[in-house]
Amino acid sequence: MIAQLSIATGFLLILIGLYGALIQRNILRMIVAFTVADTGVNIVIVAVGFMAGRTAPILDAAVPVADAAARIIDPLPQALVLTAIVIGLGTTALMLAYAFKLYEKRRTLDIDKFTDLRG
């Protein structure tokens, strides 16, 4: 139940984020919407690896080595998502730097004012 709820929320977050990125005209708001969609993707990946009744893949007194395979959940999606979050910050920083640069050139953040590439 927890996994299904989380996956549904993740999908909805992706949809909400994409909707915002498509209809907003302010560049900063588009980047905010992208980060929301990013969070949604991460939630879906982690939730797919979740198994009810099992615990985190860290061994200590509560989870001895012997029955690790029976008690822990899949560690691989977590490692992937960890990478994805860090790279997400890198891409967000790049987008923000370019937004700043665009604002410096044109003094506006409205995407419709950037018509250079229109045919």
Partner: protein, 86 residues
């Protein structure tokens, strides 16, 4: 007995969470929303420790510590932004 008490505490915490969330969604000024943000993060710390207790994993407490420090930083950053400090 103790389980009942924990369930009562969890319910109250959830209610506090909802009330603060309502203030965040409603709050007329930006400062109101930041106050609600602060309240939400503090309630979340209690929720994290509750999760750690239910799952029985002491190592989750590190997350609560990091969370407490970062919520403080977030509020400071927004407050400095509001008063045009950086």
């Amino acid at each position: 007995m103790v389980e009942t008490l924990i369930v009562i505490a969890a319910t109250l915490t959830g209610a506090a969470f909802l009330l603060a969330l309502w203030r965040f969604l409603k709050g007329p000024s930006a400062a109101d929303r930041v106050v609600a943000f602060d309240g939400l993060t503090i309630v979340s710390i209690t929720m994290i420790i509750l999760i750690a207790f239910v799952e029985g994993r002491g190592i989750y407490l590190d997350v609560a510590l990091v969370y407490a420090l970062l919520s403080f930083l977030g509020v400071i950053a927004v407050a400095r932004y509001l008063e045009r400090g950086f």
